[in-house]
Every structure is written in C-alpha cells, then in structure tokens.
Symmetry: C2
Subunit: 238 residues, 2 copies
DNA sequence: CTTCTTATGTGCGATATCGTGCGGAGACTC
DNA sequence: GAGTCTCCGCACGATATCGCACATAAGAAG
C-alpha cells in the first residue's frame, strides 16, 4: 500500500511526473480520506500540507464566516491545492474545503519543496499547474463581471462535471448559491430554465448533466479557455 | 545611464533585490517608454519580455475584441508583468496594456529565468509577487461576485490610487466602464454618488481622490486583503 | 470664432436579481 | 406514522443595472 505505486495513482499531476520524481516524493505521500466539508485550510492559517486529490472535488473560497463569500477556484484530480507553498508563501487569505467527498494524498510542504528544488522538471510542472489554476480564477472574475446567472451556473456545472465520474453531481441549491454568491431561489429557477432546455436534470440533492455541448454553447466565452490552457500546460506532457 | 543603478530604480521588486541579484540582471534591463495603450501582450502571443514599471499603470484584461471583456489585474511600480514566464509557460490568454502612460524596464524572459535559476532568493521573490498578483485577481473575482457597482468602482479607484503619484487619476468614464464591464452611464452616475459623499471629485477626463479612508470603508472587505498580502509577501523584505 | 470630436449628463422603460415570506415535499428519527 | 429537518418551489414587491436615445459641454482643430 505504501508508498503508492505510480500505476495506481489517478491524480493527473502525480501521473505526469517522471518515474524519478515520483519515486522521490512517493515515500512522503500520505493517503487520506477526504469527507465532505473537510477543511484543507482557512485564511491565514499556516498550511503544512499539499493535497493531491484522487477523487472528489475541492473548492477555494474567498470570504469571511457569517458574511459574503464566493468561490474563486475548483480542483479535482487534475491538480493539487493549496498552490501557495510553491510560490514561497506559507498562507493565503482563502478557505479550501471538500465540496464533494473523495480521497487523495497529502505531502508535507517541506518534502515537496525539497523535491522541487532538486528537479527543474518537477518544479516547472507544479508551477505550470499553479498558472493553470490562476487562469481559472481569472476567468471566474471575468465570468462574474460579464455573465448572467444562467451562464455562471452553466459554467460551474461544467467545471464540476469535468471533475466528476459520471453525469450526476451531488449538491443542494443552497450550496450552489453560496458558491456563486447568489440567492438559493435564483439557483432553483435558473436550474429550471436549464432543465427546460434539456441541458440538465435537476432533482432533490443532485443535478445530472444531459447535454454538455449545449451547456458549453450557453456559457459562451467563459468556459473553455482555462480548460484548454490546462491541457496545453499539463496534459500534453503526459 | 546603462545599466541602471539600483539607487535610481523605483520599481519595488527591483529595489527589493539583493545587490548581487540586481547586478546580475541590470545589464539586461532595457529602459522603455510606455505610452498610453502600449500593448505588452495579447492572448496566446509568445511573450518575450517581462516589464518592470517605474511609473504608470498597466491592466491585465480577459476578453476578446469586439466582445465582452473585463479587467482581472492591475499593476504599477510595485510589481511586474506578465507573470507567466516565471511559471514555465510562454503565453497566457490575457491582454496586457498600459492604462496610464509611464516608463519602465523590460528584460528578456531568458535572462530573468537564467538569473532566477541561479538565485533561490530572486526566484522566491518573483514567485511571491506572482502569488500576490494572483490574490488580487481572486479578490477581483470575489468583488465582481458580491459587490454592487459602487463598491467595485471604489475598489478600482483605490487600486489605481495606490499606483499613482498624487491624487489625480486620468481616465474617462468610458474606459472605466470597459474595465469593470459596466455601462459608461453607470460609471457616470456612480461617480456622482461618490462625489456626493465627498469621497472623490470627478471632472472631465479625471477623478481625484479626496477621502481614501472613506473609500476604503465603502468597499468593505473587497479592498485591503490583497494589499496586506502584498506587503506581507514583498515589502517586508525591503 | 466656428466646427468637430470626444466626454459627460439625463431620462425612461425593460430586465435581472434580490429579499422576504411561506408552503410543500422528500427523507430521516423515534 | 408522527414529528422533524432539510431541501425545494413559488409569489411579489423592491432595487440594481441595463439599453437606448438624446442633450450638453469641454477641449482640439481649423
């Protein structure tokens, strides 16, 4: 079981590593179960670990408890989080938590940084993912500035779908409202609109994607660019 | 005149360098005049240079010509741009241009990367700025999601003021509307509201800040955190 | 001084989204 | 199988922002 074998790993970043880099960090990877609402970090808390998901979805959120908040990033097994350690900081003003339960590996910052300082290839791969995550955030800012709720919701469902096995996404309207910083009722009615267009099916506790292409067409320019950038920066190296 | 002397430089990142790091890159710094609307890069264009401003303000924008667009980052002499080269990428889906004319230095990516690979201290400083810029973008996404126009506008004016000498900011309502992805008329009327609160004075072609503290209070939680993060990550190292 | 261009001011109906309140329905508990 | 909790549906007035049309004003050009 430990250290994990590279052939067993599903996280795309870990999969992209050279055997040599993988062998260096594998002994320090600690398998961890990540239930729903698991808190990876909170604002200004010193983060000790970087998490590589194998399944499930995490959210990066700006805001303060009891006040306004909004999601500014989402990640699954295509990446890792938090990204700050790679940039020489020890904390960031974000909360990061599991939005869909899953599992993964975590590794102490010190170990991943040591490995990265010994391998240019590893360091560059990790930094390219940081870049991809940053582009995702930039397009979230763009979408928030220019899109109507219908587009923002469609974009969010697509990003979630990309990180899910199957077409069913477990979530409540209330949760979606918090992520997008809109009213729960607006989520409900907008989901009905999308359902009316046969793009999704929405029932208590989940949304099922029915027409990805239709959703993508609906989002216009907000969805797609970050995803292509990710493929350009990361996947093509596999 | 060349290479520039460290004591003459006003860019905060360059100022923060050790003498040794500065001496390594100084011979490659090329002084450049940056008029209004100067295009630093466009989407997917291979960027060859990194720009360190000495004066003026640059904007990072997502969007496509003739379509929707929105600003996702702003920088002056406290940083540099673009940030992608540091992360191992050669381009990014952003446009970057001068919004307020100024001047600065540019350095070929190859030179700064060579210097960064030889100096952990330099690399970490540059990456910490990348982190600070990324946090700014995250809070722009947050502000776009949760704030009304009045707050977004106030936040934008504050960020601009931080990067300007004096209290007068030259810009048109039209330009501001494009940056915030709102109507020019909404800018006009909202500036009137801020003026009514004696926070600014607005006249043809410029806005003058009159009450910074008042503006900051107005923005609530959207303004301030990225700025504190910048100071924590960068300035305290001076 | 006149003309031209760019920037700003204003009005108004249309639309998107919000805040609030409440009712119903699925699921879980005892 | 009654109580309870969470999630969802619906209505409605209030507010923010938009889109469009047009008027005025400041500065530039001649």
């Amino acid at each position: 079981m430990f250290p994990p074998k590279k052939s067993d790993v599903r996280n795309k970043i870990l999969m992209s590593l050279s055997d040599r880099d993988f062998d260096h960090i594998a002994p320090h990877l600690e398998s961890i179960d990540l239930p729903k609402r698991f808190l990876i970090t909170t604002p200004d808390k010193i983060g000790d670990y970087i998490y590589f998901l194998e399944s499930g979805i995490g959210s990066v959120v700006v805001g303060y408890p009891g006040g306004k908040s909004a999601e500014i990033g989402i990640f699954g097994r295509e990446g890792f989080s938090p990204t700050v350690a790679l940039q020489g900081a020890d904390s960031a003003p974000f909360s990061i938590f599991m939005q869909v339960a899953g599992a993964g590996y975590r590794i102490a910052n010190a170990h991943i940084l040591a490995a990265a300082s010994n391998s240019l290839e590893l360091r560059n791969l990790l930094l390219r993912y940081v870049q991809a995550a940053s582009i995702q955030t930039a397009y979230t800012a763009f979408s928030n500035a220019t899109d109507h709720i219908e587009q923002r919701l469609a974009r969010w469902l697509l990003m979630c779908h990309d990180r899910t096995d199957g077409d069913k996404i477990d979530l409540t309207h209330d949760f979606l409202g918090v992520m997008l910083a809109i009213r729960r009722q607006s989520v409900t009615t907008t989901l009905h609109v999308l359902e009316g267009k046969h793009l999704i099916v929405s029932q208590r506790g989940f949304v099922a994607i029915r027409d990805r292409a239709g959703l993508e067409a609906l989002t216009g320019s907000s969805y797609g660019v970050p995803e292509r950038e990710y493929r350009r920066l990361i996947s093509q190296t596999i």
